[in-house]
């Protein structure tokens, strides 16, 4: 099972390929001789330069979807190409909302299994080998497909560094989407952008996150204030997102965002495995928690055993007084 050709799903947001797609292109260059991208929408020609720079020689363009959610039409287009004989050995998907939808539908169309939550991919005689962080990242499982490809892989953000190779712009080739029938009838009626100040959660140099230890919803302002003072982003544990204190977009963890900031400050977060998966690879971790036995302290470079309601206001005041 040699790996000659890899396709990477190039999702575009705000006019540029998402970072995870660039990370996957970078890795794919090391794993296969030929790397190609698959994109959709009316921006493909505009991003062909960037995709080429990161290693794609061709970008297969499914084109405008007329408002349909991408899951069904993009999967149908890829499946049709595979059926027509241009099957890659592997297809890498970023673990985004749309990436997962497309991978899931493609898996059924090709009747091939999917490996998700991939955090590393390596080559070998028996084909690609994946790595998965399990049990809160305390153990790493390696896995591989045992049947014929193409292998479908859904890879978590920040599994690899994105590095340009200086390649020429990718050649744009049309990839026709066959009729998707009822499966393609979910349509986007309107987009809503939620107000956000400061850097994105998964791109911020500093992330300050709050958990159940804050006690009540109103106390989350402490997290936001500290995040703002440190020019960082405010995150949250799953517990307080489930409780409705903050929107899902703030969630750090297995179900939410993976972050690797220079400093991660966990406030009132016990460190459930669900949370640790999303932040334990931060370069430095500060934890503030009342319970000295909380698992978060096992990954913290600096642990403050104390009440967040006492420590955070003092910390905020001290930073403010520095001017």
């Amino acid at each position: 099972m040699s790996v000659d050709t890899i396709w990477v799903l190039a999702e575009v947001a705000d006019g540029a390929p998402v970072t995870t797609s660039l990370e996957l292109l970078t890795r794919a260059r090391d794993l296969a001789g030929t790397v190609e991208a698959v994109a959709w929408g009316d921006t493909t020609a505009a991003v062909a330069g960037t995709l080429g720079e990161y290693g794609a020689t061709t970008v297969w363009d499914v084109g405008d979807l007329g408002g349909s959610l991408p899951g069904a039409p993009v999967a149908a287009a890829i499946a049709a190409a595979v059926g027509a004989g241009s099957a890659p050995d592997a297809i890498l998907f970023p673990a985004t909302y749309d990436g997962r939808d497309i991978a899931a539908r493609l898996s059924v169309k090709l009747d091939r299994p999917v490996l998700t939550n991939v955090v590393d991919l390596t080559g070998g005689d028996g084909g690609l080998v994946t790595q998965h962080a399990i049990f809160g990242g305390s153990q790493m499982a390696s896995a591989r497909f045992t049947a014929e490809g193409p292998g479908i892989y859904v890879v978590r953000a920040k599994s690899f560094a994105a590095e340009p190779s200086g390649g020429a712009p990718a050649a744009v080739s049309a990839l026709a989407a066959p009729d998707t029938g009822a499966t393609g009838t979910a349509r986007v009626v309107s987009h809503h952008v939620e107000e956000r100040t400061g850097p994105k959660l998964d791109e911020a140099n500093v992330v300050v996150s709050g958990g159940r230890g804050l006690g009540e919803k109103d106390q989350y302002v402490l997290i936001e204030e500290l995040a703002t003072l440190l020019h960082g982003a405010a995150g949250a544990s799953r517990a307080i997102v489930d409780a409705g204190w903050v929107p899902y977009s703030h969630q750090v963890g297995q179900t939410g965002k993976t972050v690797k900031p220079t400093v991660y400050v966990a406030c009132g977060i016990s460190g459930a495995t669900q949370h640790l998966v999303g932040m334990k690879n931060s370069k430095n971790i500060v934890a503030i928690n009342k319970d000295q036995d909380a698992p978060i302290f096992s990954v913290a470079d600096l642990g403050i055993v104390g009440d967040v309601h006492k420590v955070l206001p003092k910390l905020i005041e001290a930073i403010k007084s520095r001017g």
């Binding site: 947001a13 705000d14 959610l69 899951g71 999967a75 985004t96 909302y97 997962r100 939808d101 899931a104 539908r105 898996s107 059924v108 169309k109 299994p113 999917v114 998700t116 939550n117 049990f135 153990q139 790493m140 499982a141 390696s142 896995a143 591989r144 497909f145 859904v154 009822a182 499966t183 393609g184 979910a186 009626v189 309107s190 987009h191 799953r238 489930d242 409780a243 409705g244 899902y248 977009s249 297995q254 179900t255 400093v263 334990k280 500060v286 503030i288 000295q292 990954v299 470079d301 600096l302 642990g303 403050i304 055993v305 104390g306 009440d307 006492k310 420590v311 910390l315 001290a318 930073i319």
Partner: protein, 259 residues
């Protein structure tokens, strides 16, 4: 309006998880509980059926050993009945195989809407609901943070990186809900008593017209080749706060030039 909710019965997340030697499958013996992530879908389904002026909520689940503990929890919340697929041939089934099983079970009910969580808490593959939709030839909307049914279509606020999209989709459809889409009710005493006598139909894969080669470890066509300890992060300095703990945080942030 008839709604199917896909629910997973999982080992208690509070207990340390383990892999079975030899197969490296997650150990799923003993009592299983309703995946907390599924309580949102159950609640959403009950509210939607109610708002539509009637209809049944049916649970569909796949679990080893005829396990029904988790199903009883969802029945106690108010679901009318359940279909449980339990078969020795299902050991080691992956997400696609699970989707084949669930889709075959759902097809018997012919619901107007199918709800599921975005991913399970124990396996978190996150592809099964959309695989079910594709097998059944249905549209799907994932990561719903608001769901409203009007007539024969469903309107969903779908989570995006930037905020959310309003999505419209004709029924029948598959919708996955995020935690927090609704506040799940606690089962009442009356509900718990009633759940004991609610029908749970238990099926094997042959009842669904599936072949053993499509499911189980054979159908999964993937293997775990190795499980190793991850590189441990060494625990660092611990300071017990006696009023001045914040000063150590300041020093630490200064060292890192964040301040």
């Amino acid at each position: 309006m008839n709604v199917v909710v896909c629910v997973k019965q999982i080992p208690d997340p509070a207990a340390p998880p383990a892999l079975a030697p030899g197969t490296n499958n997650l150990v799923r013996e003993g009592k299983l509980i309703l995946d907390d992530s599924d309580s949102y879908g159950v609640e959403m389904a009950l509210q939607l059926a109610d708002a539509a002026g009637g209809g049944e909520v049916t649970l569909v689940s796949m679990a080893p050993n005829g396990e029904t503990s988790g199903l009883r929890t969802a029945l106690a919340m108010g679901a009318a009945k359940a279909i449980l697929v339990s078969d020795e041939a299902l050991a080691g089934t992956d997400a696609l195989g699970t989707a084949k099983v669930l889709a075959a079970a759902i097809a018997r009910v012919q619901p107007d809407l199918i709800l599921a969580a975005t991913e399970s808490t124990d396996g978190y593959t996150g592809t099964t609901p959309v695989q079910v939709a594709e097998i059944l030839g249905l549209p799907s909307v994932t990561f719903a943070k608001r769901v409203e049914v009007s007539g024969d279509s469903v309107k969903v606020d779908r989570q995006t990186e930037a905020g959310y999209d309003e999505v419209e989709c004709p029924l029948p459809a598959v919708v996955t809900v995020t935690a927090g889409v609704v506040e799940p009710r606690y089962p009442s005493f009356k509900g718990i008593m009633a759940a004991k006598s609610k029908p749970v139909e238990t099926l094997g894969i042959a009842d669904l017209g599936l072949d053993a080669s499509q499911v189980g470890a054979t159908g999964a066509r993937q293997e775990i080749t190795q499980v190793a300890e991850a590189e441990a992060r060494s625990a660092g300095e611990i300071v017990v706060d006696e009023g001045e703990g914040f000063e150590r945080v300041i020093q630490f942030l200064e060292q890192l030039k964040v301040l």
